[in-house]
Amino acid sequence: MKKLVKNAISEKLSLYIDGQLTEDETKEVESLLQSDPLLQEEFKELLRLKQMLSSQPRLEPSVAFWAKLSQRLENEHRQQRRSFPSLFGSFHPALVVTAMGCMVVLGIVLYSVYFDKTTTKEQVSASRQKNLLPLFTSISKDEALRFSFLGLLPIDQKNQTTIEVDEPTQKCCRIKVSKSSQQKAVQLTMDRFVAEIKPTPEQKQVIDSLLQIAQQRICTSLFVGEDKALAIDPSLPQFNRMVVSGITSTLHPEQRTKMERLLASFQTPTYVRDEASKGVASSDAGLKQFPKVTHNRTFVVITPDTILYSDMQVDMDSLLDLWQERITDMEIERQQLIEQFIQQDFSTLRRRNVAQVSSGLGSTNEFQIEVSPEIQAPATATKKLGLTILPSDSPSQGSR
């Protein structure tokens, strides 16, 4: 009985907190509160609880939610179309049931026969859920060298749109996309590098293996997506710094001077200038400090609507398998995505984002964003992205 009364009072108190009582009931509860210290304590605790609940952290909107969902819906559509062809409607129901029975049996047999294969396919589709395709599936050694030293990569085959990464201040990544060709950069090739620096066979071997890692890394760090989306791993400049540092550490002082001279003729990014002038004592230090390429990384995703970052799982192995299987389709699809990205009006991107920072607008053929240190830290998934969007003609904050 006592418990029943207590429950009734607790319920009243709960409703009182939410303002759900009538005037008379409110007065009743208030007078009870004044006379009963235990009830007062309960009231305070309930208030605290309500405040704790309402201030629970909320998840940020999931970046690829729609992309994943639409992919699932589409798969479902496809499966339904396969399982229930429309001509079924014109048959007798008993026939349909028998046919479906046969299909179930057949399905079980096929499932058991092709079980392994199906699993692989599912993994592949998981890696493609974001509707993103890698910008590069293979890359030449020359391109890897140019990217490591100059931070430059051509997006299209004609080398008319380029992507450029730099690290103007420590742990700050600058990503610039511009519709201007970098003809001069093409002159930096492996042959020229070897001719000028004259590395020994051992040194050449180290440099080759470093560039090989760079080749792999580039392929898993840049993606192009539907509706003009571009995803970039913002840790690329850091990675480049490691490659440059690794190469520098294998060279003798006089070779290093030659390398600095060679690079001075190109407009090298900040990290190259820093690293090339640094004398690194141990020759294998460069290789040792390479972190393993993890599958789950944070990417900066740029679309005409917004710029933000997203944790993405890249199952490159499965994707490459699929690539081999459907090479023509995939190449065409990728080319289309690249075309769409390139042909968009960058000024729209710039205008919307830049408005908050500066009204000064320069060329409409490029845009540039900077990612602050916050993102570079091993951020939790819900952490906010520290993005600074700058007009590409504004004075840079770095030493460039």
């Binding site: 429950n7 607790s10 319920e11 108190l13 709960s14 409703l15 939410d18 759900q20 309960e42 605790e45 309930l46 609880l49 309500k50 704790m52 609940l53 309402s54 201030s55 629970q56 952290p57 909320r58 998840l59 940020e60 909107p61 999931s62 970046v63 690829a64 939610f65 729609w66 992309a67 994943k68 969902l69 639409s70 992919q71 699932r72 819906l73 589409e74 479902e76 974001k130 509707n131 993103l132 997506g225 539907e226 509706d227 003009k228 989306a229 995703v301 679309t303 005409p304 609507d305 917004t306 933000l308 997203s310 968009q344 009006d345 729209t348 998934a381 819900t382």
Partner: protein, 239 residues
Amino acid sequence: MNSLAAVADNIVGVRARTLVSFEQPEQGMSTTMNKEKENEGNDFSSLPLAEIRKLTDYQLIKSFQEGNEGAFRFLVERYQNRIQNLFYSIFRDRDYAEDLAQEVFIKVYRALPNFRFESSFYTWLYRIAVNKSRDEMRHRKLQRFFSFEQLDDGAEAELQARLATLPQNRDDEEIIALGLKMVPEPFKSAVILRDIEGLSYEEIADILHCELGTVKSRIARGRTALRNAIKPLLEETRL
């Protein structure tokens, strides 16, 4: 604006399967069913993206029911975060919450052609989500049973085990997460919908398909259970 209109052209009218628009949907829920605009037609394909986002749930659903599948995307955009957060409050697992939210929207997509506007869209959506979470909890319990793990005396033993392993300086989020584990259904859903999701008593009654009086008592009992559960945790944190 032209380019936005062009994007909208591409999206509304065809099955949208895009990465575009990661913008947070408007926080306020469009609960009003704009009957006035009912007869104005529901072909929004010529509207810019920003304008489409201002449409009411009713307009979007009507458009979807008239064959404009692209409208579904805007409903998803509007509510995905809320539904995902509802699951996150219950299961405390970001990926799992996203996965469950996706399943809810797949269900909604299938059922939307027959939606009769007998309740508002979002209470219907929440109802599907709450049912989904209950199914999942049931499934998890069964899984635990069938995997022959040592059965404990329910959440209390689990909580005690966690108390022993977790560091003492817990924050409010952790305390609430641990406490909610101890609150049984259907009280847990009622408290989450009221105090985390901020829904009204009437809305909760609609979602949970029960009388207002039942909602009142479930919320009160849920709060009392949660209060009792977190009390030792709060005291310990204070020490």
